[in-house]
């Protein structure tokens, strides 16, 4: 399900890009050494092992509460989209209301028809009035995707949203998200090199308190799961990570 990268006509270079720069401190100690993360339209991965601070970096970028502190500057978007590992479904709201939740939290009048269209776009038409408990894990993450799309955010932050899914559902969700977020600036936090290589044109490795660029895979995203180059590069990247660990 390869789809071409679409860049908004005037987004590159003209506008100051979203990003984060400086140092991240946790309890007065350096969590991430001085860095500059400047985001381009399209997908950027933050790849690193658990505890490396990648989620912290993402939370700071999104302006979310967190224990660490940024000494530096942040350029966030007016509207931010957020997807986490947990689908964050509110059990008492219907699927449709869950899609509109961010709008209602923001105090905007949600457009029901748009919410329905988005549910259809993620393959869930007809389930609008169900409760989230009646849905499978994969379906719930689709609702979360529709909810994220609903606010029409310029900057999308993804905190391992696919890592709790089974492998087949994960690949489907990756493709779906890639299609739906086309043209936006997306930051994906992941510990899975294959996921980063498959989806992201820019990859940052986070290890040993350092944020450094890693070589992405050339070619059209998302890569086919059976792409030999994807498999080989994934294996090489894993080796690198294991060696330095």
């Amino acid at each position: 399900m390869a789809s071409p990268m679409i860049y908004p006509a005037n987004s590159v270079a003209e506008v100051d890009p979203y990003g984060l720069s400086g140092t991240i401190l946790l309890d007065g100690e350096t969590l991430i050494a001085p860095f500059t993360l400047s985001l381009q339209a399209g997908w950027t991965a933050l790849l690193g092992p658990s505890g490396s601070g990648k989620s912290t970096l993402l939370r700071l970028l999104g302006g979310l509460d967190c224990e660490a502190e940024l000494k530096g500057t942040r350029r966030g978007a007016e509207r931010i989209g957020w997807m986490a590992q947990s689908d964050l479904m509110q059990p008492r709201l219907s699927v449709l209301q869950n899609v509109m939740l961010i709008e209602m939290l923001a105090g905007r009048k949600p457009d029901r028809n748009r919410a329905r269209d988005l549910l259809a776009a993620v393959g869930l038409s007809g389930l609008e009035s169900r409760k989230p408990s009646a849905l499978s894990g994969g379906q719930r993450q689709r609702v979360a995707l529709a909810r994220t799309l609903m606010s029409d955010a310029e900057l999308i932050l993804l905190d391992e949203p696919f890592s709790a899914l089974d492998p087949a559902t994960r690949a489907t969700m990756q493709d779906l998200a890639f299609d739906q977020f086309a043209g936006r600036t997306v930051v994906l936090v992941t510990h899975d090199p294959a996921e980063a290589l498959r989806l992201c044109q820019t990859i940052w490795g986070l290890e040993d308190h350092q944020l450094q660029p890693l070589e992405p895979l050339a070619g059209t995203k998302p890569h086919d799961l059976a792409d030999p180059a994807l498999l080989a590069t994934t294996a090489r990247l894993l080796d690198d990570i294991r060696e330095s660990a």
Binding site: D65, S86, Q90, R92, I102, L105, A106, G107, S151
Partner: protein, 239 residues
Amino acid sequence: MRKLMIPLALIALWQGGVSAGLQPAFILPGPLEVAGTLWTDRALLLTHSLITLEEVAYGFVIGALLGVGTAILMMLSPIVRLNLRPVLNASQAIPVFVLAPILTLWFGYGLAPKIIMTILLVFFPIASGLLDGMLATPQQSLDMARIAKASRWRELIWLRFPHALPQLAASIRIAITYAPTGAVIGEWIGASKGLGYLMLMANARSRIALMFAALVVIVAMTLLLHRLADRLLRRWLSA
């Protein structure tokens, strides 16, 4: 039927003890005598029950509304929360019994002191239960509020209050069993009506069976209210 085995056994034991003459009937009437009084004095018991029920209804509704309102206010304003919480906690150290004479002194012998007594018993569990539930909303859910730049009010309406509903329901179930106690305490101190008054009057006239009958009615009322609340909460809050 199986659920009633132990209560029935206890009642049988009670009747057995009384029949064996362990205690004279003017100190401990047997269940049969109490049941007989329940029937013969049913009009009297009903009249006084309705008074107590009225106090309970007013007290519970007002207390619950005040409790929910206070919890919401404390949730919306950290300053109010910071200042009010210690006061509320400290207030629980005051045995409400000692307040009853004061309330009677201030508000007279009518319904008001009984209703206020009930409010005092109902208010705290509901306010603290709801507040604790709202404060325990998972950070992950609150992230969505932060992302949406939601106001405290919208965060409360869409995330915190729904999250606290099971805890609110549990608090309501507890509070409704406290409510009749509040009304009866009020009636003990000074009243001319109500089941608490009836108990005192029966005691003074050595009508111990009537006293027990009133007690049975209070217990039945409490159980019934609890059952009713449980039903309604299940239907409306599914909690």
